[in-house]
């Protein structure tokens, strides 16, 4: 009995839940620093806080060994500006990225990444992660530095980003948390933040959680809390029916619980109106079709007749040789490529080499005949092996799902060309073909999160943010570095902070909410139907085009669903309980997105944000952040300059602020 059919058809009775049921039971835990989320950001936050002498507890919905978006591996380690071969300064890299995002990026978090990414890589190396070609497999390759054995990606001249053997990243981080005596509560879904006197907008004193195997409630009391949970997902589109969770970039656990908890506690969130369109459940196997970007960057693409598709540099000049794809053009200081850093999110100064937009026209005119293939055999041996063997093999969801699965089926990169998906011509405008063909009203939040200061502290005392919990774009090394930084600041705060007290009334309200879905009624509804219903509201009322009219109606509809259908959500076991509670999160995040969309009364190309009633695109007076928060049941917004982090009360340079906020003493790692 292993498959679904065995279970249902075997003529046996339904097996009992395999874990003890502890509904209503409660554990209370006290700690200096509480880290919510045990992914890349959370592990680094916990480790750096523990090294500062704090007692640390991690709360993780899955299991820390392999959970989180970086839990299945990593191939690129970006922004390692401080590595001995880099020609790019942290300041230059930060400014290039912030400018690329037209200012809509988190300056403190980005600068911390550029300063500490290399230190963090060395730290991971000490924990057992391979970050160098120690066996010499790539000796002689242009992207290898013989002295350090480091392997570089994307831009072989400026050498700011590394190729790493990151498949074992999460197990190594896990081991380090154990070594440091950090206690992790696995399978515990954080459900709410606890605040002083149970009020919103004041100091955070801990959190509640529910075990999704046993149903037991956990009450965590903490001097400082680091929110290190992922970004919201499953807001506009949700279907497990197509491909399970296979076709989504985030796993099903990732819904934005942290964002909803922070909002309910009164924290300020920025950038929640920003989104982009997605193919939802129709994407292809991640990194598992031929394409010329990211993990497969630099791969030659040929059409059905074997004709190569041309590559261009950022100025539009066609590149002749394969090696030119990895070198900046004449006069260009460095290129930014990968991790979403292509196309409109980079400035012309750092625009990387690419297969350009004209591919769509070439397909239409018949000049390029579909399907395209990734012509691995034509590449120099080192490049071929780097793409299929190093990058595919270490990037998340590639070791088993792509490398092992494909080679077992006979795929041989030395002989075979992997086909690219056949899509409408315009879909090839994005070089990331595995993402598939997107649908305009199917959207995903991009970069919305906690508004933070130079301590990566939120607007609430005692609450810090790391990784995707924070406003701004991010990647693996960004999660690691912001975790280190936030963990340090949280530990420093906790050292002098008073002992927190839990408000029992607040706890009682949360206890009632958490266990409500256990009541079965004739009109009960499962979590999937709830999730998909909320998605429909978002598609229609808060889709590609929004207006005050649709958003206000959408908010009314969400409020009605909260009072009606959401209360009928039924959970047959603790696992389903977690999933129903996720629907509470999804509904709350939907409200946040609608409020944030109401607050921005202008359209924006940079934010992929369209208001039918405010069609002017990026008018100068709206080049700002409009963070929102909840205050006594009302939504408050304010204007914040995009470069708030370089304006008073802060210093005018990244360096000065970084140093003034503890950055001069990066922790020394585990050695």
């Amino acid at each position: 009995m292993t498959s679904w059919w065995d279970l249902i058809e075997g003529g046996q009775s339904t097996p009992e839940w395999p874990y003890p049921i502890r509904y209503g039971q409660e554990s209370r835990i006290s700690t200096d620093v509480l880290v919510l989320g045990g992914g890349i950001a959370g592990c680094h936050a916990a480790i750096s806080a523990a090294r500062r002498g704090a007692s640390v507890v991690i709360v993780e919905k899955g299991h820390i060994r392999r959970s989180g978006q970086g839990g299945a591996g990593v191939d690129h380690w970006q922004a390692a500006c401080a590595n001995p071969c880099s020609t790019v300064s942290p300041e230059e890299y930060t400014r290039a990225i912030v400018d690329g995002f037209a200012g809509y990026d988190c300056g403190p978090m980005r600068y911390a990444q550029c300063r500490e990414s290399w230190d963090a890589a060395l730290d991971c190396e000490r924990m057992g992660v391979q970050i160098r070609d120690v066996h010499g497999e790539f000796e002689g390759a242009e992207f290898r530095d013989p002295e350090t054995q480091l392997l570089f990606c994307y831009d072989y001249e400026s050498r700011h980003s590394l190729r790493v053997y990151g498949d074992t990243m999460k197990p190594c981080l896990h081991k380090e948390t154990v070594r440091l005596g950090i206690k992790t509560y696995n399978r515990v879904m954080a459900t709410s933040l606890l605040t002083e006197d149970g009020k919103a907008g004041v100091r955070v004193v801990g959190a509640t959680g529910v075990n999704v195997r046993t149903g037991e409630l956990y009450v965590f009391r903490a001097k400082a809390t680091v929110l290190a949970m992922a970004h919201p997902r499953r807001e506009w589109v949700f279907s497990t029916e197509l491909n399970g969770g296979a076709a989504t970039f985030a796993d099903l656990n990732i819904v934005g619980d942290g964002h909803a908890m922070a909002w309910n506690a009164g924290a300020e969130l920025a950038g929640m109106e920003r989104s982009y369109d997605t193919a939802g459940g129709f994407a292809y196997i991640q990194y598992g079709v031929g394409y010329p970007d990211n993990t497969w960057f630099g791969c030659t693409m040929v059409d059905a007749r074997g004709k190569p598709v041309p590559w261009f540099d950022g100025s539009g000049r066609e590149l002749a040789a394969v090696r030119d794809r990895f070198l900046p053009r004449d006069g260009q200081k460095f290129m930014l490529i990968g991790g979403g850093l292509t196309g409109s999110s980079v400035t012309p100064q750092t625009q990387g080499n690419h297969i350009d937009d004209s591919l769509a026209e070439r397909i239409r005119s018949g000049e390029v005949v579909l399907p395209l293939y990734a012509d691995l055999p034509s590449l120099p041996a080192h490049e071929r092996r780097a793409i299929f063997g190093l990058m595919v093999g270490n990037e998340g969801k590639t070791r088993v799902p792509v490398y092992e699965t494909y080679t077992r089926a006979g795929f041989d990169p030395d002989q075979d060309m992997l086909q690219a998906p056949i899509m409408p011509p315009d879909a090839y405008r994005s070089p990331h073909y595995p993402a598939g063909v997107s649908v305009p009203q199917w959207r995903e939040i991009f970069g919305g999160g906690l508004m933070v200061d130079w301590d990566l502290r939120s607007s609430l005392e005692g609450l810090y943010g790391a990784g995707r919990s924070v406003y701004g774009a991010g990647d693996h090394s960004g999660a690691a570095t912001s975790g280190r930084y936030a963990g340090r600041r949280a530990a420093d705060y906790a050292r002098d902070a008073s002992g927190p007290a839990v408000d029992e009334d607040q706890l009682e309200t949360e206890r009632a909410r958490v266990y409500a879905p256990l009541q079965k009624r004739p009109e009960s509804m499962g979590w999937k139907e709830l999730n998909a219903g909320i998605c429909r509201i978002m598609q229609d009322y808060c889709g590609q085009f929004r207006s005050e009219e649709t958003l206000l109606r959408g908010l009314r509809l969400l409020a009605e669903v909260r009072e009606a259908e959401l209360t009928r959500g039924y959970a047959a076991n603790p696992h389903e309980l977690g999933r129903v509670l996720e629907c509470h999160t999804i509904l709350t995040v939907a409200e946040i997105v609608m409020h944030a969309s109401l607050a921005r009364r202008a359209s924006s190309e940079h934010l992929d944000f369209r208001r039918l009633d405010y069609p002017a695109v990026d008018p100068p007076e709206w080049r700002k952040l409009s963070p929102i928060r909840r205050d006594h049941g009302e939504v408050k917004t304010r204007d914040v300059p995009l470069d708030y982090h370089l304006q008073p009360p802060y210093a005018s340079t990244y360096e000065e602020n970084y140093v003034a906020h503890g950055g001069s003493s990066p922790d020394t790692g585990g050695a």
């Binding site: 395999p18 299945a72 399970g244 796993d251 196997i285 595919v392």
Partner: protein, 114 residues
Amino acid sequence: MDRRVYMVPNPPMPNIPLQFDAAVCNGCNVCVKICRTDVLMPNPERLTPPIVLYPDECWYCGCCVEDCPRPGAIMLVHPLNQSVVVSWKRKKTGESFRLGMKDPPPPNTRPPAR
């Protein structure tokens, strides 16, 4: 064709993300322990492969396969909606292959870079 037939709901989709080889798996439940979305449940029958209770929640990350102490006990099988278009062409011969084809070519045994 004499067999018992039951009233059962439709199977969740995708059907079988993970195939267990009962001859190799010893029911140690490491995969149950580490699966991020709790797709797997320990089998009530000890020393036997776990139950794939929530195939529709699988992220296809392959960590269970990687962390399994008995190689070959678990095989990850992509949903047909995705795997059916994974294909490749042998450059020299022009032959086409695809993931899941009936008579696949011999495996390529080269391990990933180390």
